[in-house]
């Protein structure tokens, strides 16, 4: 714990200062990435039930045309990212490593790629229910990485009152600059999306939280927000993991989301800036989500930048476009703190991919070091944004006392931000321990349920 942290103020009290590495891409405007020869559109790019394909193999589709429909309320449809031909519907690799059903699409090289789908909608006269339905039809999900269907957040659960729409522009992960560029280049779309969300939810106030390491974004947003007295753009000191919604709510409002609860429990709905920008852009035209901004960064890239990439672009193709060098040793989807490393480049970019990080062997080895026993320095306890005790949980995990971790030490509250692993001087893979523990507990509970049912 640093001496400075005694002084309060509106900031994250815990967490860590990680090196930002953002300068590589933060000033590069968004560029369009060319279409790949083949696109792979997984049917499950979001949290919830996978979408159901509504196209046949061999069918020709137009850019923006729905190709899969949502399967239930917590599910969203998919739209064709390019005009072309459905090659087949088959299994494709995913970020988790397992194979999942996907639609393979070959874009017509000669097509105009104009979006012909959609028609203007009059949002001002729509009821909240209609807006929620329209948002679902766009297929927009949380673009900050969680990929949770956005319209579900806009539907306030019965008996709860949400008064504040919070716009999350923190982007605290190192390397990533997607949200930054979106805020700089599309502030009006962001705020429009926020106002739509406010209407759907029935809230009365919008707070935009941006970390102070993006002054240009704050400036542009403040300019855009000047016309709306109910929108406040707040600058917060940069600290990881401020972008986690529970953290941001606490920093900006001092409200604590109860353990196991949702932001709506404290009257808040949080949306990522990129998500809102897409809603603000797509909803008035009633179109579907077919592309997104992805940061390509890392020392092993010659042409890093923020690319507007069609969803379904295979990673191998995208990396070639970004100038991947031979030094590349590891590819991470998302930020280095929470993003998973992937083992195959044959998987596509999906709605939840905020960035692609290509690291050299040297970068990855900086994490190397013998794993020593916990010396109880307490650094992890000091940085854990949730005030958990990773030190003790790590020791319990070593002895496989997973159940105790959950019952006595709130294991399930951990959202794996990685702060504890980052600071651990003994190089204990704490987050990995916790993931395993959660998995073991889930399996144990499933076994118990099966037993009691039998």
């Amino acid at each position: 714990m640093s001496l400075l942290s005694i002084f309060g103020g509106k900031r994250l009290q815990r967490g860590v200062h990680v090196p930002e590495f953002k300068e590589q891409t933060s000033q590069l405007p968004i560029r369009r990435m060319p279409f790949p020869p083949t696109m792979i559109i997984p049917l499950s790019q979001h949290a919830g039930a996978p979408a159901v394909a509504i196209v046949r193999e061999g069918q020709e589709v137009v850019r923006g045309e729905p190709i899969a429909k949502s399967n239930g309320f917590v599910s969203v449809p998919m739209h064709a990212p390019a005009t072309g031909r459905i090659e087949r519907i088959a299994l494709a690799p995913s970020a988790r490593g397992e194979l999942a059903p996907a639609i393979y699409l070959t874009p017509w090289p000669s097509a105009s790629q104009e979006i012909l789908y959609g028609a203007p909608q009059d949002i001002e006269h729509m009821t909240p229910e209609e807006i929620v339905k329209a948002v679902q039809e766009t297929g927009v999900v949380g673009l900050g990485g969680a990929a949770f269907p956005t319209h579900v957040k806009m539907k306030v659960p019965e008996g709860k009152k949400v008064d504040i729409v919070m716009v999350n522009g923190c982007e605290c992960e190192p390397y990533l600059t997607t949200d930054h560029r979106v805020m700089v280049e599309q502030p009006d779309e962001v705020l429009h999306g926020a106002r739509i969300a406010m209407k759907a939810i029935g809230a009365s106030k919008i707070i935009v939280g941006v970390e102070d390491n993006k002054p240009d974004a704050i400036e542009n947003l403040r300019k855009a927000a000047a016309a709306y007295p109910y929108i406040a753009v707040e600058s917060v000191p940069a600290q990881y993991p401020q972008g986690a919604e529970k953290m941001l709510i606490h920093v900006l409002l001092g409200r604590e989301v109860p353990s196991g609860g949702l932001p709506s429990d404290v009257g808040v709905a949080v949306f990522n800036v990129a998500t809102l920008a897409q809603i603000g852009d797509l909803l008035p035209r009633h179109q579907g989500l077919i592309e997104r901004v992805v940061t390509f960064a890392g020392p092993a890239l010659k042409k890093p930048g923020n690319y507007l990439a069609a969803l379904g672009t295979p990673l191998r193709f995208a990396l070639e476009q970004a100038g991947c060098t031979d030094e590349a040793a590891g590819v991470i989807l998302g930020g280095p703190m929470m993003g998973p490393a992937i083992s195959s480049l044959d998987m596509p970019l999906t709605k939840g991919v905020t960035g692609v990080l290509v690291l050299t062997r040297k970068d990855l080895e900086s994490r190397n070091g013998d794993i020593l026993p916990c010396i109880r320095c307490g650094a992890c306890v000091d940085v854990c944004p949730l005030h958990l005790n990773p030190s003790r949980m790590g020791m319990l995990a070593r002895k496989e006392r997973y159940e105790e971790m959950e019952t006595d030490f709130h294991l399930m509250d951990c959202f794996e931000c990685g702060c504890c692993s980052y600071v651990c001087p003994s190089h204990i893979p704490l987050v990995q321990h916790f993931r395993i523990a959660k998995q073991m507990n889930r399996e144990r509970k499933a076994r118990e349920r099966a037993k009691s049912n039998a």
Partner: protein
Amino acid sequence: MSAPSLTPEIVLRTSPHLHSKRSVGVIMRNVVYAMLPVCAYAVYNFGISVLALLVVSTLSCVLTEHMFCRAAGRPSSIKDSSVIITGILLGLTLPPGFPLWMTAVGGFVAVGLGKMLFGGLGFNVFNPALVGRAFLQAAFPTAITTYTPAQATGRFLEFIPTSLTLPFMQPPVITDWVAKVRIDAFSGATPLTALKFDKVTTEIMPLFWGNVAGSAGETSVILILLGGVYLVARNFMDWRITASMLLSAMAMSGAFYLSNPTAFPNPLFMLFSGGLMLGAVFMATDMVASPVTPLGVWIYGAVMGVMTILIRLLGGLPEGVMYAILLANAVSPAIDNLTQPRVYGTKKKAEAKA
């Protein structure tokens, strides 16, 4: 422009993929660096005997750890430097002329009993150096309370006679030798024994600079503080424990002083004398034996500060830092359990019940 060939050993690692540069080895080495000025001053103040003392204590600790690892068939763990800290600390807490063979015994006990029996680094319940010292204090009560004057003549050329006692033999009586080598104004009595038994309070400035009698490394307040400031500045030390211990010691002795200024010494003297500084900066902050919770470290420090003063002023011993820290070590797991931080989004116990 070729696609990268991903090496499985690396890609299969999970997040986070970044790591801070702070590692156990770095922390431990820096603690050693922070203690070096204190060691140097100890040698300057008391002569080559202290040099030999520090070398013997460090070597015996390192060898013991190495031996235990060998016996257990594990790779030797001396690389992480933590055992060097134990060795130096043990040396710094002993009287300058402490027989070297006893020092070696202390090193063996410190690491063997205090650390390796518990499973090595990270698992010891008590501060190993203090376990060693407490053992020595109980085993050889006379030798460990035999202090020699600071700044003695010829201290760089001649050993203190007790240092070179043959193994298992009693150290010789050195009253005559002390009379011969001592310079005026430097007595063999430590400030705290002078206080306890003769009701004499030493002045503050000599305590601050350190040219008084005492255990080898405890005399110079300024150098110990500088070492602490270095460690705090580089975030290798928990300043809260030190602060809490010193503040509570100050408050406690202040209360005594105010209640009866003639019977009790002033708080500044209590703070600067004896091993309080050394203990508060380098021993109380031993990470392994201290609590990890933010509230816990404050309580832990307070326990040590209060106990130190109680033992010094009310107990039978002139100095209480060692016992205070050992007692706090013993209750540290309890403090840890009682001060588990309230997890974000959960209610306090009292509220939850209500």
